[in-house]
Symmetry: C2
Subunit: 401 residues, 2 copies
Amino acid sequence: MSDNVVQAVQALKRGTVEVYTETDLAQRLVDAAKTGRPMRIKLGLDPTSPDIHLGHTVVLRKMRQFQDLGHKAVLIIGDYTARVGDPTGQNATRPMLSPEQIERNARTYFNQAGHILNTSPDKLEVRYNSEWLAKINLADLIKLASSMTVARMLERDTFELRYKAGDPIGIHEFLYPLMQGYDSVMIRSDVELGGTDQTFNNLVGRDLQRMHDQPPQIVITMPILVGLDGKEKMSKSKGNYVGVTDAPNDMFGKIMSISDEMMANYYTLLTDLPAEQIATLTDPSRSHPKEAKVTLGKTVVTQFYGPELAEMAAAEFDKVFAQGQLPDEIAEFSLPGEPISIKQLLTACKLVDSGGEAKRMVTQGGVSIDGQKVTDPNATTTPTDGMVVQVGRRRFARIRV
Amino acid sequence: MSDNVVQAVQALKRGTVEVYTETDLAQRLVDAAKTGRPMRIKLGLDPTSPDIHLGHTVVLRKMRQFQDLGHKAVLIIGDYTARVGDPTGQNATRPMLSPEQIERNARTYFNQAGHILNTSPDKLEVRYNSEWLAKINLADLIKLASSMTVARMLERDTFELRYKAGDPIGIHEFLYPLMQGYDSVMIRSDVELGGTDQTFNNLVGRDLQRMHDQPPQIVITMPILVGLDGKEKMSKSKGNYVGVTDAPNDMFGKIMSISDEMMANYYTLLTDLPAEQIATLTDPSRSHPKEAKVTLGKTVVTQFYGPELAEMAAAEFDKVFAQGQLPDEIAEFSLPGEPISIKQLLTACKLVDSGGEAKRMVTQGGVSIDGQKVTDPNATTTPTDGMVVQVGRRRFARIRV
């Protein structure tokens, strides 16, 4: 095996949880080099949640790495099952979508993924799985279903837990992994990428490809990125996420909020810095954690906005938080100069989403007016021109009377 | 509820194991009487094994009872799944059949079932389920599959036993009950008949009909007829069966071979005699068992061949077995007058299927030549004109040199 292939395998393994199998991957790279035919790297896209956060970019960055090595990304939009939805209506993650919603979501996803992926047509192919799933008949499906046993399906962790807990599992849920696997057959994928939560589904693709006399795809699983809270998986619904469309200042500020322990993980999964440099940056005896975190924030923001905006975000953060100054830009709101409650004030300046949030923020000591902490959400105040209201560490508003 | 309906429910319940539900059945009979619309009684037909024996007639006789009450038999030929077969090739009961084989088997079944059923077009409808199953798409199937849970499917006795034993169950096996249930939806069945081994599948039909806003079919299960050996289910492969195409003498003779304890069961499931008469016939203090068995044999043979041939079969049986005489008709075989082994002799006269069987029958003392028992299958004998060879109690051959 050539040194090139050995190096490529090493590079592609970075940050992965598992490669099924490394030998297959090396062999496939050798074949691709020999035939000059790029490998086809599959990634399934769920058209129900198009907004991408840094958690999603872990897999997308791996995809980009394959593209940079000369291979082709194949994005599969799971429109067929999205159009069907979950017939029982019990699975909130499978709502029924209209063709228009699917198209809109796919476009949103595509635009956001374009920050990471190379979107030139020779590097990226986008396919809708209704193209083949709409044509499947019952005889085809019986054949597909026969490739998998009930026992193996129930070994899948999510099914196993639900089965043991006595929670109902619809028979149709056993069909989804088969459909995903069939996608691999239809696009003849060489590699499928996914989070560890997709391991089972992606391995089904290997089985179905064998059944269809195709070489089985290599399955590469990537870790699930922990959210800003350091506890749960990054997700929009948990509010512990950094969206790829977040403004540079927000993105930088959110990254600065993670704990020191999380830095190594974020560096490995979200940047291309060499392992040795990451080791140095995350070793408190060699680097100051605060500075290491600033480097992390700037590196990530640079990927989306370039180095200049990243520097500006870092400077702004330093000014507001480290030096306690006000940010450069503060949204302004016009109010009459008449007494109103603190709750009303916060809502009027769009610093909170609801009266309940206003009350909570005040009670927790997170609200100040012109630098003075307020303690009673129902107390009244009279807005004056230039008054600055602050909620939490990063939300500001200036009043114009 | 009218007396008529009460009587009909009582009559239809005879010999059944379970009626799901009796109330539904009564209500449906009332509705049918009110609207003048006959009920549609479904029976699935397995096109892989067309030959019918008395075990099958238990269900067919119940169907005939419905026909005689004015309702319509709907036979479903499961051609779609027979054309697919079992893709794993592991299930010997699901071979893949050609359209010609399916058609031939369906015709054979239909001819044989015609001994029991009323085959006039207003009483009998024959449907092939490929008519609707070939049109089903993946979205339809997802919807169907969502109506059933994995846990409920695994409660089915055969699946439960296999799952606990660690034997593989293919996912496609979960689809078959759904397809059978969908058949009920498509033909809008009012009642489905089947053996107790079909209870689960037939109840699925109820669920799917509810899901399609149809009144759920009444499921009536019939007992599995015990074979002549009194132990196992009657089946061709076990050799413990009475085929509906068996000659009158064979049919009568086989029935005479059952044990006294089995008579009540056979009387109930295979004849229309009133319950009181059966009680008298099977009570040794009121009837002689031998005579009761002769009455059973004649009653069954009469259904297929009429009373005259039934009487002749009984007389023949009496002559050969009770009085030890030779039967009236014995097949003749021409052989050269040269020494051959007993094994060869039995095979040449078609009294056995193989040399192995010949050896076994001789060793068990079941073979005699001109009334003399033979003991060595390899001994030689010289055929003479008029020589009579007997195997077991009922197989005879006469030699012509």
